[in-house]
Symmetry: C2
Subunit: 761 residues, 2 copies
């Protein structure tokens, strides 16, 4: 666990130069705009340990699969978001000495700030070089929320103890490489570089997937705030494409280097236009200037926060954390493009490759539903609808037939691309989350037309998969689902994972009901979809049979559903008895020991109690929560949020608060010892759920927004806005009462009395 | 299935030139001498599809592990037997045209013969080149059973339609590469090459493991059988190190190129002596000459066959096959070195990497016990004894303690080196086979001293593993073994695999009995071993508790032990209903589908009924065999032999005969469609077991050799020798009676009456 981040309501602040924090801070201070983003690498050269990282959403390399022993059905590749050329490097030589914080004499007054309110990242320090020269440096940068292709930075340098001669080389670093690469192969090749005046355009191609990228960069100079022109010399080599400028700077004078940069890519534009549009973007940026661009950007963030901010009073740590989570979710996905999705690490790192996991439907959807116009969530659903054919293809590669769809565990384009059979083939519960998201979306937005437009076809594909995947056990006289991995990945290839079976049964039932309803209320679409999918009454009857005879492991001794067949045969020693120095177990125990243990990586059966909470009484939830809680080690970032929400429901408020901090500050405090690899972006939506669905108890019940607000002791109050059916609702919860203000100004108060309050909107 | 091999009692014969058979024949016609060996590559250049393969036993490269997602406890590397420089290449240019059967005009009268009786491989053909020249070629080669480092070949070429000018380049091909490589990295580097007179010495180093190899080659010439001297020119390039000779050959004159070659390596000799010993070997070979060396080699084979031949009358196909199996087993392992073992593909291919699997103890040991002096089998046991420390280290990497030993699934030096968690960590039943081999060895050889000398320490390590690996289920009130893979690798991570639990229980019981016996009969060694291992009464009592409370899955409805928990929930459709075009299922079904199916790759529960046959009545065997037989697809080469032996016991003689051919002709007929990758050498020992333990019913009962002979209808008789306690016993079984002749000439006849006959020796 780390705790070097200073608490602040609106900013993430690091003070002091500690090189052991470089990788972690590169992740934490990442910035992006949904289209592209970057880790918080230094602009100047840095020879210490670091991970250069610039990523464009949707630009991936199909990295040939790596497995110990190839078996039939394995995906051909693992899609990796490409670590692109870095648009904003600046090399400084000061009287001939390279500015490099790893090789200088001394660094003082080092600080970083990520200003979440305004969406910029700033770094300040003074440095004494080996040659005795002292410099003060201040840099600020942002990736524009207003101009999708553009980033900008202003790097100001002041010699403190003498005049200096600077060699300044703004550059595009094009020897960047994915760290997470299966075969240590290059993912990209350079096509060409053109440097004209102050403009650098670097054209490259992603191998195999054939995406093209134009990385661009231009530079302006100011001395003590006053712009001036300068002629530079092109300087290119194997590592950078830059322009070298020579500048004399007086003692105590401040040179500012302003760089505009970013990317155009062939998904968004025709290949032949990439360079033109890049140049056009640069010229536009130059004409606006840094300050105007920043202002525009800040104003975009103002709008974002208006719809999505959560205020917590009385707990700066929680306040900072919830905003950090909301900030990164907004940076990662804006919902403008139906071909993009919410990558598990956003633009902050490479681990997990791919882009789209079940995280999107299971954890992220509520956030985008609650804080954005419905078109954003709808784009997430459209993403899966557009990939239905690929899901059918994925299933057919495994031997399924007749339109059965298995959505991928990991994908960039709809094709499955994970490296492990126990996940790829077996963690099939993802299909249910995708079905459930359709229900959730329609319920929340009231977009009833979505079902005929897209939803039902997806549901039918998913149900066909479940119907074929379930098999009849003559021994049990019931349908079983064998050989699966549940959400708890610390068990593989188990039979009858309760969550999987339960959710599969739900899919079959829900889809049947939808079809029946549509046949009565919208016979035209019903007929169209029946024809398109070839669904028949016989097939639906078969679904009903499976649904009614689905086996769910249950212990009557314990009055408990059992996570999967055989779980009770394990040595059921509570996780609290694992010595602290052996946690997290996945970094300390062999995989074999983990598999045999009763320890649950993340909510599994309890994930089902979250999704399908209406099916269970509070008493039932309590019994199952109290049992499974004992064995849950929360070594997935996606776990504490579910336990938080359920703790609130059970009135375990202290525990809920602990879980809340665990999810909210997961990366800020590096609970899982892996923040250096990037942030857990999708789990950040779980933090939002913890507060909105957990503490505030927001639900849709019978089409109405309802609330069952509670508040942790430590907080004096908390408040938030919620977009519900395109109206902004304001909720303010304190210990005495809950105030709801509809946007029109009508104020309603409800009591914190443990009951559900329906809001009429 | 292929059937191009001509049936013959003593030879493997291919007639006709079919390039689609090249890879298969390279495997089938492989030769070796236990120390090194080679695939049947052409001596001359060949540009068609082929796999150059020369392998030295014990010389491996630690190929960095390839897995989809690294988890704690994974082995660092997979040991791969190095594909070494090829010692015996000869390049021919005939009037300037390269002799290459892939590029010539016509090949006629092509034939190969592997003479198993004398241990040589011969190839004959005539060829018409593009330039119209017709040649007759005959080559014969062998790898000397008398001189461990030496191979020899004689290549005779006769121009048929005109005199020719030959460029003859005997060479060492040193750009050979392992096909089975994880990262496409080179496994070796060349150090230096020296060519002096007719001697080529090529010195190379295996990367990482640092073994050094000297490959050597020398050439003599004969014209029409008369030796002559010739001066050549060294010719080396990136691919070969050779000597180029120019020779005029008259029409119908025969030029013979005689090459001696082979390897010295740094496991056998000090590095600095490798070249000297190589040179010495060459000079010795040259002075003997090809014919004398061949004679010496043939005489070694005569001795081998005297002890191990099996004669089958009335069935040439079976006769050829059984000898093919015995031949390759002798080529692969001679038992001279305790650091070597029986690789699953011997010197015939690269698949499976590594060297030592549980195949050695479970399948190969009986063959070497029955056909060799006991020192050979003892060396196999010594191999594991010498690696006990590594086995303890393997277990400790997984979290086991206090001397618990987990022998590796695959190894070259005692360290685990497999790429898949579901095998490496979970296929732990191998430990039992290693324990059982100790019992079997002592029983067969009466070498009682072995237990104190080596056996008990191994047993204690294994029992400690089982005692820690079993866990107590409060639910069942019994000990369980969770998360394993049984011999049936078409199921992974199952609970309570019957075979694993049963054999673990056996280990605990047997070891307890051994310790008790030793404490009474040999207190000195008992005390020494107790002290050395730190074993205590408490620990042994704990073993007894586990042994007495071991859970064995059982269905009282079916009166059957169940392969593992949950097996009965599968769709129990007999394998006979799988469409033929979907077999083998591992080449046609996704892994996911296989895992969920009831199909058993190889004898699993029935493997236990084989090892522990005395524990079960014939009636019990019949019940279990009849049930599990339905689901067994025999897609491991190690399966049919067990089913054969059990079929004989159940008097299913027709079925037994079918299984016998399936194991005996597995590679000759390529039943599993993979002979191009190499032969299934370890399963060849299963063929031997099928006849000796199957049809002949050989057992040791109460320390006596016993026999329960049966004979398939098709055979008129079969006979074999058996080394039992260093005496050679001769058994001759015909339909009327069984004749046993002790070596001293005393003749005994016993009836084929379905009872067991004890032989007093």
């Amino acid at each position: 666990m780390i705790n070097y981040i200073k608490e602040d309501e609106w900013s993430i602040i690091e003070e002091g130069f500690d090189q052991s924090h470089i990788l972690a801070s590169e992740s934490i201070f990442s910035i992006g705009n949904g289209k592209f983003g970057q880790r918080a690498n230094f602009e100047e050269d840095y020879s210490g340990e670091h991970l250069y990282g610039n990523y464009i959403s949707g630009i991936y390399y199909p990295d040939r699969t790596k497995v110990g022993w190839w078996k039939k059905g394995y995906p051909e590749y693992f899609a990796k978001t490409v670590n692109c050329p870095a648009w904003g490097g600046i090399r400084f030589e000061v009287n001939g000495e390279l500015l490099d914080l790893n090789r200088c004499k001394k660094v003082n007054h080092f600080s970083r700030e990520l200003n979440m309110k305004e969406g910029w990242y700033r770094r300040d320090f003074t440095v004494e070089l080996q040659n005795g020269i002292q410099l003060q440096v201040s840099s600020i940068r942002f990736i524009s929320m207003a101009m999708e292709q553009l980033g900008a930075l202003k790097y100001t340098l002041t010699p403190l103890n003498q005049a200096v001669t600077l060699q300044v080389i703004p550059n595009i670093k094009h020897d960047t490489k994915n760290k997470d690469s299966n075969w240590n192969e290059p993912f990209t090749e350079d096509l060409d570089t053109s440097i004209e005046k102050n403009h650098i355009l670097h054209h490259s191609r992603v191998l195999k997937s054939d995406f093209q990228i134009c990385t661009f960069n231009s530079t302006q100079f100011q001395m003590n705030g006053n712009g001036f022109e300068l002629e530079g010399e092109p300087l290119t080599n194997d590592s950078i494409a830059g322009i070298s400028y020579k500048i004399e700077v007086e003692q105590n004078s401040s040179l500012s280097v302003i760089t505009f940069g970013g990317y155009t890519n062939s998904v968004d534009f025709p290949e032949q236009n990439l360079k033109n549009i890049a140049l056009h973007t640069l010229i536009k940026a130059e004409s606006y200037g840094f300050d105007a661009l920043l202002k525009q950007h800040v104003s975009e963030w103002e709008t974002i926060w208006k719809n999505s901010d959560i205020k917590i009073h009385g707990d700066v740590s929680a306040q900072q954390a919830i905003r950090f989570n909301i900030f990164h979710l907004n940076q990662t996905y804006t919902g403008k493009h139906a071909n993009l999705n919410v990558g598990p690490k956003g633009f902050t790192g490479e681990k997990y490759g791919g882009v789209t996991y079940w995280d999107t439907e299971a954890y992220c959807l509520p956030f985008y539903l609650g804080t954005k116009s419905k078109s954003v969530a709808k784009n997430l659903l459209r993403y899966r609808y557009n990939q239905l054919d690929k899901a059918i293809e994925n299933a057919s590669k495994l031997g399924f037939k007749s339109g059965a769809a298995l959505y991928p565990m990991v994908t960039a384009n709809g094709e499955e691309c994970h490296n492990e059979w126990e996940i790829t083939f077996e963690e099939i519960h993802r299909n249910s989350a995708i079905a459930f998201a359709i229900k959730k979306y329609i319920e929340y937005t009231n977009d009833e037309g979505h079902m005929a437009e897209m939803g039902l076809e997806v549901l039918i594909g998913i149900c066909r998969f479940w119907a074929q995947r379930a098999s009849f056990s003559t021994h049990l006289n019931l349908y079983v689902i064998l050989g699966v991995t549940g959400p708890n990945e610390y068990e593989n290839n188990v039979d009858n994972n309760w969550y999987t079976n339960y959710s599969a049964r739900w899919c079959l039932r829900y889809t049947r009901e939808v079809i029946e309803k549509m046949s009565k209320e919208d016979s035209e679409n019903h007929e169209r979809i029946c024809q398109k999918t070839g669904i028949s009454k016989t097939e639906i009857n078969q679904w009903e049979t499976i649904e009614n005879q689905m086996y769910l492991p249950y212990s009557s001794d314990l009055s408990l559903y059992i996570q999967h067949d055989g779980f009770l045969n394990k040595e059921l020693i509570p996780a609290s008895q694992i010595p602290v120095d052996q946690r997290p177990i996945n970094q300390n125990w062999s995989w074999d020991r983990i598999l045999r243990s009763p320890y649950i990586k993340q909510a599994d059966l309890l994930q089902g109690f979250y999704f399908f909470e209406d099916d269970f009484t509070t008493e039932e939830l309590k019994r199952h929560f109290d049992f499974y809680e004992n064995f849950t080690v929360h070594e997935s970032s996606l776990s504490p949020c579910i336990h938080c929400i359920e703790s609130v429901r059970l009135d375990y408020l202290d525990q809920a608060y602990t879980y809340f901090l665990q999810t909210a500050r997961l990366d800020l405090n590096d609970y899982n010892k892996e923040v250096h690899e990037g942030l857990h972006v999708t789990s950040m939506a779980g933090t939002w759920m913890s507060l909105i669905e957990g503490f505030a108890g927001v639900r849709i019940i019978d089409g109405k927004l309802s609330l069952a607000p509670k508040i942790p002791d430590k907080w004096t109050s908390y408040s938030f806005h919620l977009n519900f059916r395109e109206r902004l609702i304001y909720v303010d919860v304190s210990h005495e009462k809950t105030k709801l203000v509809l946007l029109e100004g009508k104020e309603v108060s409800v009591l914190l009395d443990n009951t559900t309050h329906f809001l009429s909107t």
